[in-house]
């Protein structure tokens, strides 16, 4: 499994996505979104990751091809990668930026979905929608999606609520929604609250209430977890209009910051648990394939 910085050296996002998926799968896998309906709709050529129990052996005898049966829900499975591209997602120091890391993961998931002949789409947002590619199974969808991901630049302030509202409009059917964000400045004053409060938390609950399968990838740089500075630092906010500054000896804050960061992640984990949204914590110095492998393994285990 390649480290994020090594992945960044690969030529294109498509290659990176394939590399991540190959590293993550490294063997048989199952469909990300298992069908629940018994109404047969079509045959589909077997692809790695498909449930072998669904191979239509009669069709195999007839056509000498491995074919699996597809049911109504499966054919209608749609996956949407929702990506936060605000300026804060551009932070990096030793590893790739959070935006790059999220792009790799999003591309890999889209690639995986595309491989299963399912529909994958993209919604990139900051203070406004930056890129929108509704889920589709049409040929070229994947390359368009990769191209859109590669063009994304971190800028603007995050407004995830508005993006999530847009998701509701795009996905009228039950969908698998991958949300990538650092969730910074997306919660109200916590004030001893065990869960994150705010519009984003509310939108996630709403998506789940509509039947969408939501996975929240909480992407953070190691610096935002450990604050590994040891000097007098003049900290400045990254997003436009952010006038917050702080002059401090970083070593004075390390201990308190780590506690604060831990609580921050804990609040979002609790929020997701309450909203039945799957929470995945993503450090940008962890190989994406490793994260994807853990995600897939855990998800298939639930089936």
């Amino acid at each position: 499994m390649l480290a994020p910085v090594d992945l960044a050296r690969l030529a294109s996002l498509a290659v990176r996505a394939r590399n991540i998926v190959e590293g993550a799968l490294s063997g048989a896998h199952r469909n990300l979104h298992p069908g629940a309906s018994l109404e047969f709709t079509e045959h589909k050529e077997y692809a790695p990751g498909d449930d072998i129990r669904r191979i239509d052996w009669k069709a195999v005898a007839r056509t000498d091809r491995y074919t699996i049966k597809r049911f109504e829900n499966e054919t209608e499975m749609r996956a949407l990668v929702v990506l936060d591209t605000s300026a804060s997602m551009g932070y990096r120091r030793t590893s790739v930026s959070k935006l790059e890391y999220a792009s790799y993961l999003g591309a890999a998931l889209a690639y995986l979905v595309g491989q299963q002949r399912d529909a994958a789409g993209l919604l990139a947002f900051a203070d406004d929608t930056r890129a929108l590619l509704p889920p589709s199974t049409r040929p070229g969808q994947a390359s368009e999606l990769f191209s859109a991901l590669e063009k994304l630049q971190p800028m603007g302030a995050a407004n995830p609520s508005r993006a999530i509202d847009l998701v509701g409009e795009i996905c009228d059917k039950r969908s698998l929604i991958f949300v990538f964000s650092d969730l910074l400045d997306c919660e109200d004053d916590p004030k001893a609250s065990p869960a994150a409060r705010g519009p984003l938390a509310d939108r996630l609950r709403q998506l789940r209430a509509r039947g969408h399968d939501v996975v929240l990838f909480h992407v953070l740089d190691p610096d935002e977890i450990e604050l590994p500075f040891d000097d007098l630092i003049f900290f400045e906010g990254m997003e436009p209009g952010d006038q917050r500054t702080l002059l401090a000896e970083a070593s004075d804050l390390v201990h308190a910051f780590r506690e604060e960061s831990e609580r921050f992640r804990g609040r979002w984990r609790t929020t997701c648990l309450e909203a039945r949204v799957e929470y995945r914590f993503a450090r940008t110095d962890v190989p994406p394939a490793e994260l994807l492998h853990a995600f897939l393994t855990e998800r298939m285990g639930r089936r």
Binding site: P154, D231, L232, I233, F235, R244, S251, A256, F257, E260
Partner: protein, 720 residues
């Protein structure tokens, strides 16, 4: 408060440096565009108060450090009034002279004089300006300089003063001041001073102040006695002499006690101790500033060891060191006399030996006499006697002469008397190594009309003895008029040839003509006495005079070494003790009064038979053991000895004002007291170190990089 270098105080503006550095550092802080500002600000709010407090403390500490540096370099000091001698504000070359003589052991209500002097000397040494250079001497006789060169390191001088202990030696101020002057002569400084800490005892200044007549150095005397004379009583002398009054082993112990005060002491208690045990006590009335003598008559025990320690003590006073005095005595050997009768007669009172034997038997109780004719004397038998008396033996054989030589060399006593039978030439030939002086002609006294008429029945012309020189121990017991001796008449006597004076020969009695009557000579370890007349009535009527018996008794005791006190066994502090390593003695061990041990090897004696022990620095009794080739130590009580205080140290008479060596005005009552500089920068430097430690602790977790300009700003890349 004053400053040595006040111009350096301008550096106080450096106190602003920490604040300026803080401001500059703030501007140069590493800028980081950070996404998680929300988290950062939340935790900052939590630690803000604590961090702010630490920042303020750190700033204060650094400002204090910056401000204190020029303050310290400006060398602040305070002037403080002190009772220490003279002004020391100026850098100077100084020699501290500390009186460590025995008299400084006198106690006062606040301790000993020496303790006070040492403390003041240390205080003075600490107060000299740091540019000063010091040397340190003590005044006890023979003591080497403690620090004999001017030394800039005051701490070393203070340590040397601290390490100094009071001695039992007498003072030699003259030498100490001479040394101090010599040390200061090498200095180029304007201020050259000698600081003398003493009790101002007159003893030790007899040879003058030891200073140049004019010019530097200045001398400052610190009188630690408080200007008053110590009221001291002391035993200044102790003698032990044989005394037949108390029997064969009788001794008389005489202690001379002196008072150095203006108050008489009636019934002062005096105690005599024999081998540590009190054997006699008495009192004496001691006049103010005078002397008194206490005499003890005692009989030494016959049984047991012949060596004894005698100590006399008086009731204690503030100076206890001289309240006791000790003597080591070796009991006289038993008097065994071989009388060689050279002119025997059948009529008893005409016999040559008759009066001599009678005198010894009566005068020396316990004396064992054996009388033989010259031909009957066996040469090898002489060792059984302590004294041999050769009475008018005309022609002693060669064998007898040789035997007598060996006998005397080994420590025996030999009395030679003459008479008509003497062959002077033969004596001079055979007894040449023993005779005090060669024999000459026989002189017959000339008659002087009416000179001695009517004194005796024998009216032959005669001479008498010259007045007695009672300084000789042998004659000390005789009355000044010499009763019984000066009345004796000498009709004939043998002249002796003159010889070169060698110091081992001594004429004890002389005739009126000036011719020697009784001569003594030391030969080897023994002694020879020659009486140039007879011991019967042929040439003199001395045998029938009352002085004959005591004279023969004293002669016999002198010959036997009967003096009970060995002068060499009683020393003053610092005097060397010669110890015999004769025989097969290889090692000597001396145990001092404080229990410390000195070991001497035979090799140290070279070709001689005695070792010099120089470590007589303590008063009391020194015990001697000897070891032969097998290394086994055996007590040698005969070599034990006592060391006493020099009686001069007991004399607490103060030095006369006109003889004081002061060469600088000493502060007097009512005058402005001298001031000393108390340097404050040491304390400030210590405070600075504490500040630096505090600053280090505070900034341990707050290390800053001042030069951060070259560090690139961290943040999101301008382009992916």
């Amino acid at each position: 408060m004053h400053f040595l270098a006040p111009a350096l105080l301008l550096g106080i503006f450096a106190a602003a440096a920490p604040y300026l550095i803080h401001r500059i550092g703030k501007r140069r802080a590493l800028a980081v565009r950070f996404a998680a500002m929300q988290l950062l600000l939340r935790c900052e709010r939590r630690v803000h108060a604590r961090r702010r407090l630490r920042e303020i403390l750190l700033m204060l500490a650094r400002t204090a450090v910056a401000a204190s540096l020029p303050f310290i370099f400006a060398r602040p000091f305070a002037e403080q009034a002190t009772d220490l001698p003279v002004v020391t504000l100026d850098a100077q070359s100084a020699v501290i002279v500390l009186d460590d003589s025995a008299s400084m052991q006198a106690s006062t209500s606040t301790g000993t004089l020496f303790g006070r002097a040492r403390a003041r000397a240390q205080a003075l040494a600490r107060q000299f300006p740091s540019e000063s250079e010091l040397a340190f001497l003590v005044t006890s006789a023979g003591a080497p300089p403690k620090i004999g060169e001017l030394e800039p390191d005051r701490a070393r001088v203070v340590e040397a003063i601290e390490a100094t202990r009071c001695s039992f030696r007498s003072a030699d101020f003259t030498m100490a001041m001479r040394q101090a002057s010599s040390i200061l002569a090498a200095s180029k400084r304007t201020h050259r001073r000698i600081y003398l800490f003493t009790d101002l005892q007159a003893t030790g200044w007899e040879d003058g102040a030891g200073l140049p007549l004019v010019g530097p150095p200045e001398v400052v005397v610190d009188d630690v006695s408080g200007g008053t004379q110590l009221a001291n009583r002391a035993i200044v002398e102790m003698r032990v002499e044989p005394s037949s009054e108390a029997g064969p082993t009788g001794i008389v112990v005489t202690a001379e006690i002196a008072d150095y005060s203006n108050r008489a002491t009636p019934a002062l208690g005096v105690t005599l101790r024999l081998d540590g045990v009190s054997v006699a006590q008495g009192t004496v009335d001691l006049p103010a500033g005078g002397h008194a003598r206490k005499r003890f008559l005692h009989s030494l025990p016959v049984e047991g060891s012949s060596s004894h320690d005698l100590t006399v003590e008086i009731d204690g006073d503030g100076f206890a060191v001289d309240d006791r005095r000790s003597v080591h005595v070796e009991m006289a050997r038993t008097l065994r006399v071989l009388v060689v009768d050279g002119d025997p007669r059948t009529i008893r009172n005409e016999d040559e030996a008759f009066f001599f034997e009678t005198a010894l038997q009566s005068g020396v109780p316990g004396a064992q006499l054996t009388t033989k004719l010259p031909d009957d004397v066996a040469a090898e038998a002489l060792s059984g006697y302590t004294v041999v008396a050769l009475l008018n033996v005309g022609r002693p054989s060669t064998a007898l002469a040789s035997a007598l030589e060996r006998f005397v060399e080994a420590g025996g006593g030999l009395l030679l008397t003459v008479g008509d039978r003497i062959d002077a030439a033969l004596w001079n030939e055979r007894l040449a190594k023993l005779l005090p002086q060669p024999l000459g002609l026989v002189r017959t006294a000339a008659a002087l009309p009416g000179q001695h008429g009517g004194e005796t029945v024998d009216d032959r012309p005669a001479e008498r003895l010259l007045p007695l020189d009672r300084r000789h121990p042998l004659l000390a017991a005789f009355p000044e008029q010499g009763d019984g001796l000066l009345s004796a008449r000498f009709f004939k006597y043998m002249l002796v040839d003159p010889v070169r004076d060698t110091g081992v020969r001594n004429v004890i009695l002389r005739y009126e003509s000036g011719a020697p009557a009784l001569i003594e000579r030391e030969v080897g370890k023994g002694r020879v006495m020659l009486l140039t007349t007879t011991v019967d009535r042929e040439w003199t009527d001395l045998p029938i005079r009352t002085g004959f018996l005591p004279l023969m008794r004293e002669v016999a005791r002198a010959l036997v070494g009967a003096s009970d006190e060995d002068d060499a066994a009683t020393l003053l502090v610092g005097e060397p003790r010669l110890l015999s390593v004769a025989g097969d003695v290889q090692t000597l061990e001396i145990t001092r009064p404080d229990g410390s041990v000195w070991i001497g090897k035979r090799e140290q004696a070279g070709a001689g038979q005695s070792l010099a022990f120089l470590g007589t620095d303590q008063i009391g009794l020194y015990r001697v053991r000897a070891a032969g080739p097998d290394g086994t130590f055996v007590r040698q009580p005969t070599q034990d000895f006592a060391v006493n205080l020099d009686p001069r140290e007991s004399n607490s008479t103060r030095l006369a004002a006109e003889k004081r060596p002061d060469r600088i005005a000493v502060s007097s009552a009512g005058a402005k007291p001298p001031k000393h500089r108390v340097e404050l920068w040491h304390g400030l430097a210590a405070g600075l170190i504490i500040l630096l430690l505090a600053e280090s602790m505070l900034s341990l977790r707050w290390r800053r990089l001042a030069a951060v300009e070259d560090v690139p700003e961290i943040g999101p890349p301008s382009s992916p």
